[in-house]
């Protein structure tokens, strides 16, 4: 893929940069370290996937970028989120509002609950446009119809007057995308945009997102738990586990040379299509990752994945591994990663 080469030779500066972000929640049971020391860079025009299981901190990261978390209980313990020279964490609500929906916008997993049920689709889209671009109501409405047409909603002139409940799940998600892209944002954050949809509708939405990314040149942060979506959509991937980044690489690198045991476990534990064709018709047992995701409240000294890891040693339980570059542009936070990387260099041994 040309994309991964482009990533490797990147010299331009990132459009969005997160440095050592820690988002904590104070609860009655203790402090939940939802995001614990996350750094990432997003470059212009690329699709960065964040993959991980529920509770790994991927959605909290997105909400932190847009300043959508209620404080309290949320608390930004430390970190910087740099966008166009400004630290988003230091902006006040008024400045943040000028960025939200305009420079950075977001689409959510559940289009039914994220649209206002008592306003028409057209009103909701044109509200964003007139707020940020200061155009007349009529111009905003015309732009809303144009956007609905752009995301291939059939009969946009009629649909613009309909309420969310009158649309199907796929149509609602298209309306959400139309709204998110209506101000031509530089960054689109998509949090599980196709998870609540049926497979055939998911294919339509992913196809639409690919097309819009190429047309609008928007940088996308795509949050998902589905490795299939990552493989089809992403250029670079971050794998998150229990609030931290455990691996970062181009999509091709990650799928063929996973350097963190958790990433490797994820790849081998998912059922894949057409596996029945390879065998003699017998059902194939899946690889399991034993145990479960750790509590984010307890302080664990070593690697958070160690209790579930088949490679874990005493060192892993005592000392937390840092993210390091083990192959070109391929980072992993694991004491064993350099051994894995060496083995991949010399496959004969």
């Amino acid at each position: 893929m040309e994309n991964s080469i482009a990533v490797a030779n990147r010299t331009d500066s990132p459009i969005l940069q997160i440095k050592d972000l820690r988002t904590f929640f104070d609860t009655r049971d203790g402090t939940v370290r939802a995001v614990n020391g996350l750094s990432l860079e997003l470059y212009a025009g690329e699709t960065l996937c964040i993959v991980g299981e529920s509770g790994c901190g991927k959605s909290v990261t997105a909400m932190t970028i847009l300043g959508l978390l209620p404080k309290p209980p949320a608390r930004i313990e430390s970190g910087e989120i740099l966008f166009e020279g400004a630290d988003l964490l230091k902006l006040d609500e008024r400045d943040m509002r000028a960025i939200r929906g305009n420079d950075i916008s977001m689409i959510f997993q559940e289009p039914m609950t994220s649209l206002n049920p008592v306003l028409t689709i057209g009103r909701q889209i044109s509200e964003v446009i007139s707020l940020h671009q200061g155009v007349s109501d009529r111009a905003a409405r015309a732009r809303a119809i144009e956007m609905l047409d752009r995301v291939r909603v059939p009969d946009p002139h009629q649909r613009v007057n309909e309420y969310p409940h009158q649309l199907s799940g796929g149509m609602r998600q298209r309306a959400m995308i139309a709204m998110a892209l209506s101000c031509n944002p530089k960054i689109l954050i998509a949090d599980e945009p196709s998870t609540a949809l049926d497979v055939t509708i998911q294919a339509q939405i992913l196809d639409l997102m690919r097309e819009l990314r190429d047309d609008f040149g928007t940088s996308i942060i795509l949050i998902t738990h589905d490795l299939g979506v990552v493989a089809e959509m992403g250029e670079r991937v971050l794998v998150m586990y229990a609030g931290g980044k455990v691996e970062e690489a181009s999509v091709e690198e990650l799928f063929h040379y996973p350097l963190h045991p958790y990433s490797e476990g994820l790849m081998t534990s998912i059922p894949r299509l057409n596996e029945s064709l390879a065998g003699d018709g017998d059902r194939v047992r899946l690889q399991e990752i034993p145990g479960m995701v750790p509590s984010l409240i307890e302080k664990i000294p070593g690697c958070l994945f160690a209790p579930r890891c088949s490679y874990a040693s005493e060192k892993c339980e005592a000392e937390s591994p840092q993210l390091a570059e083990h192959r070109k542009q391929h980072y992993a936070a694991c004491w064993e990663s350099s051994n894995f990387a060496q083995r991949m260099e010399s496959p004969t041994s």
Binding site: E53, G170, D198, T200, A203, D207, A231, R272, L273, N274
Partner: protein, 339 residues
């Protein structure tokens, strides 16, 4: 069971032309304004020790089929035979002894377990309800089940909120297995679970099914999961079966255009695979006002005039491979799919 089965001796379950129509009522007097044709003539068999996967998109009626089989819903038409006995016409009290034979595993492990019962009582409850042995025997069986699904004995004292999602689903499986049923209906048993624990539950289901020689109806929207657990797969679209065959054949040689589109739509977790996707247009048809003729004709890339008026019957193409599509009508003109 002494009664002789009409549908072959090894079949644990035979479903014959079952229909379920829900009424749609509107207005002050709740006047009937139409029907939801949720399930509209579905037939299949499941043999002992066999897993049938039932796939389809949301609203296609797959969960309703599961509920009709267990008589959690009453049928509008059709018959369900469990071990040769027609259970679709039994009264509520007559059906009770048959309930032991069929158990269900639910999708949501959070809402399907009573939060006020300890794990031990949850699993022993069905045994006590059906009076399966003395209390010592029940205790012994519960212990065996706990070990079998991977819990320590101490776990019996704990309550559902102390378990994680994957553990709760294992508890739900232990509870379903307690009374030694012949048939288990599992409705999306892993879709609420995280990817890394899905594999644990899928493997457990496969192992237990083989060990207890269960007939398993595995309902899911996830084709990759269904492929892994099923011996045969049935594909549903808006209340009807469109294709049913063994797992390998379905993936190698899907005949219905909907099956083809469904298989092609699944994202493949391998960036090297460049798939030529069949992206079908439009939304799933509504079961309230299903399209005339073939219900898929509004989205089908191969639609013909005949499809708009004539409902295709589920016909056997090869042994065990049945398809409902005019493209594959053996009696009529069959144009090539690869045009």
């Amino acid at each position: 069971m002494t009664s002789v089965s009409a549908s072959g001796p090894e079949n644990i379950l035979s479903v014959r032309a079952v229909k379920k129509h829900f009424e749609v009522r509107k207005g002050l007097l709740a006047k009937k304004v139409g029907n939801v044709y949720a399930v509209d003539g579905v037939s299949f068999d499941i043999a002992r020790g066999e897993t049938l996967g039932l796939v389809g998109e949301s609203g296609c009626g797959k969960s309703t089929v599961g509920r009709l089989i267990l008589r959690l819903l009453d049928l509008t038409a059709g018959e369900v035979h469990l071990k040769g006995v027609n259970i679709s016409e039994l009264t509520r009290s007559e059906i009770l002894p048959h309930r032991r034979e069929m158990q269900m595993v639910f999708q949501d492990p959070y809402s399907s377990l009573n939060p006020k019962l300890s794990a031990g009582s949850l699993v022993s409850e069905p045994l006590r309800n059906f009076k399966q042995g003395t209390s010592a025997e029940i205790d012994q069986r519960v212990q065996m089940l706990f070990e079998r699904v991977g819990f320590k004995r101490e776990a019996m004292e704990r309550y559902p909120h102390e378990f994680s999602g994957g553990q709760r689903q294992r508890l739900g499986i232990a509870r379903a297995l307690a009374v030694n049923p012949s048939l288990i209906v599992a409705d999306e048993p892993v879709s609420a679970l995280d990817v890394s624990v899905q594999a644990q539950v899928i493997n457990l289901l496969i192992d237990l099914q083989e060990e207890f020689n269960l007939a398993l109806l595995f309902i899911s929207h996830d084709l990759a999961v269904v492929e892994h657990v099923s011996h045969r797969i049935a594909v549903m679209y808006v209340g009807k079966l469109v294709e049913i065959t063994d797992t390998k054949t379905l993936f190698k040689n899907p005949l219905h255009p909907y099956t083809e589109a469904l298989l092609s739509a699944v994202p493949v977790p391998d960036p090297r695979v460049i798939k030529k996707k069949i992206i079908i247009k439009g939304d799933v048809a509504s079961p309230i006002n299903p399209p005339s003729g073939c219900r898929f004709h509004t989205r089908c890339p191969h639609v013909m005039d005949r499809c708009r008026v004539e409902d295709p019957a589920l016909q056997e193409m090869e042994a065990g491979h049945r398809v409902a599509c005019h493209l594959h009508d053996p009696s009529g003109f069959t144009p090539s799919l690869k045009s």
